[in-house]
Symmetry: none
Subunit: 212 residues, 4 copies
DNA sequence: GATGAATGAGGCTTCATTCAT
DNA sequence: AATGAATGAAGCCTCATTCAT
């Protein structure tokens, strides 16, 4: 019966999501305890579990927030580009831009994606994979999966016909995810990291690599 | 008075490393407790910590073993290739072959790379990065870092002069690491995964992407 | 400034008592949290504790309500019977009838009698025993303790002189309470239970068992 | 891989069972936390959960121990009696004797029987009822259910043909369980309680109540 | 009257590690 | 070389209760 749409409540929830992002990015998912997250907000552990019934719920909120924020970068960029090659470059650059401007969010999402396990031991990405299979995204959202961009380019003849779009998509996602990992690693040891430049390198490699 | 070079001792250590690989690959790093690993060998938890003073030591041994096994695939392949392009293809294919033939090892290493934190909170790859900086590998071993292959190709003029070898190296490592992640994810939900075919896709994309 | 005699207030209190009965009967006393009870009424947990300053107070209200309801069955029945044997049968049958027609109430009361402990660890029945000792009931109410019925029968010569009325009373209360336990247990596993028939069995056994 | 049959281990387990009995009898099942039980033994909470993987396992051990102890009183007594009436009296007296000599055990078992709920909310006696239905006891053990004694007496013609053995059994069990409740209640408020005398009262009432 | 928010105590469980044997 | 026992820190979660609005 808790109505969670009060102003205060929304505020607390947002604070908690922010704190969770920071703590996860800093300590990694397994070490990101509810206690640490609540501490960072300056509230009791039990308050966190008052606003999110369970740790999993808080983590889910984090992913929703970060996904939505990322989509705001990527979807318009994709829509603005007309050719498949243009969309490919836009996809890479918007991902890089998001990473550059939302470092903690990206790292946190990466930590969750690789570190989360449900109580029964299921991986985070297993759930996502199955969800996506059950409810395939439509329209521009579908292009959030890079495989769709490669498939489009093959269809329009821009990209090599012998290209495997799914594998190429994995390669690109891997390269992009690697950026988040590099960012976390290098930041931790005090080295600065330039996601934009990395994005340009990817644009060059992947564009040349797939053009017909 | 622990002599670590006895036959049985070495044997036990090897058993434990194998068990650790299996358990980590199956349950993920955070859920891979010493108890579960010891159980799999059929010995008491305390015995595991007798042979490896600490869980971290066991994990370190796992990474050494897996790295060494991977090097046995990659180093000879690199040595056999003469051109930079050849070495690039060899690097990718030998990585893919290792992954195809040592799935548990690969997944376990990925889990560790991704989930491990030292007691002080340092990431696994932070340690590796610093170690590497302190003791740079020499000879063929140096090529285990793909950046070196790209640098070589630029030097020989095979690859584009404007290519950033370090960033290209990150892209390739990311794409390769993504394969391990995909393997873990897809295996978990019962989908078969073909690392060799993925490797060929990477060879095509990266070769075209970097050639002069 | 809490006025506890307003109409709405009385109404809320009654709703809460009803909800408490239902929740306790269904989930057992220890699992019957204030939150669950308030939820069932559709109000906030804090509202429940506004009307009953403490959970103990709510529970006390439940027992009062159920006792009163039971007394409405039992007292008139006792009054209508003239002999001790008649009162004994009336006592058993009215208890059984109450149980048959107020299953949730009976089960809830039993759960409380059995599971409740005050903050200091005192049992529910300890409090009742001491209360009764301090304020002994008078008139027909006194007969709510079956020992009084047996004592009466011994006095009138209907029952065996060597009968111990207190112990016989305990036996009868035990047999009757057992019905509530059986009811809860059997209902939970989907078996129907016939309190009336059980009552008749008790009438037969106890009547023959105590007659002079 | 824990072999739990060491001497020390058996000893600790026995200590823990004893402590659990004492704590449950004193504080009631819901308030009997693992911490309190471990405290009473003078060991860390985690040690208790080392010897019994879970609180439920400890509670199960308690019931097994108490049931076994009770059976040692009851089974031989039943076997020694030849007539149904004799067995009835023996059943009651041996129950009373056990209660008299093992007060804490009896109270604890009663607390568990009425207060235990599984994680899914199942009552203790639901489980027992279903277990018994699945694996009905044989031989003298079958007589541990008083309904069997009444059925026997009806068969031999000692008891009234119109008696319902199951309901009579419930009545007797209820009366006997009531003794445990009374014992707990009266002991708590400092009144002494004589189970043997109570048993005699029950013998008189139930024997007269069921004889043909 | 009503309620959302906050709290701290306590509950069960898991885990890496130590130690005596 | 092996191990059973013990431990304490930490983790997630539930709950009755308080308080300002």
């Amino acid at each position: 019966m808790r109505s969670r749409d009060t102003f205060t409540s929304e505020q607390r929830r947002a604070q908690l999501v922010d704190a969770a992002i920071a703590v996860i990015a800093e300590h990694g998912y397994p070490a990101a305890s509810v206690a640490k997250i609540a501490d960072r907000v300056g509230i009791a552990k039990s308050v966190a579990l008052y606003h999110f019934r369970t740790k999993d719920e808080l983590v889910a909120a984090v992913t929703v927030v970060v996904f939505a924020a990322a989509a705001e970068y990527i979807v318009p960029a994709l829509a603005a580009a007309e050719t498949a090659a243009g969309k490919l470059a836009a996809y890479i650059r918007s991902n890089a831009a998001f990473l550059a401007e939302h470092r903690a969010e990206t790292v946190a999402l990466r930590e969750i994606a690789t570190g989360y396990r449900s109580a029964e031991g299921r991986r985070f990405d297993e759930a996502v994979t199955e969800d996506t299979a059950a409810n395939p995204p439509e329209g521009d959202l579908a292009l959030l999966d890079p495989a769709a961009i490669f498939a489009l380019g093959i269809e329009t003849g821009e990209f090599r016909a012998d290209l495997d779009p799914v594998r190429a998509g994995s390669a690109l996602r891997g390269a992009l995810d690697g950026a988040a990992t590099d960012l976390a690693r290098l930041t931790a040891i005090g080295v600065t990291y330039d996601p934009i430049a990395y994005g340009e390198t990817l644009v060059e490699i992947f564009t040349r690599g797939v053009l017909a």
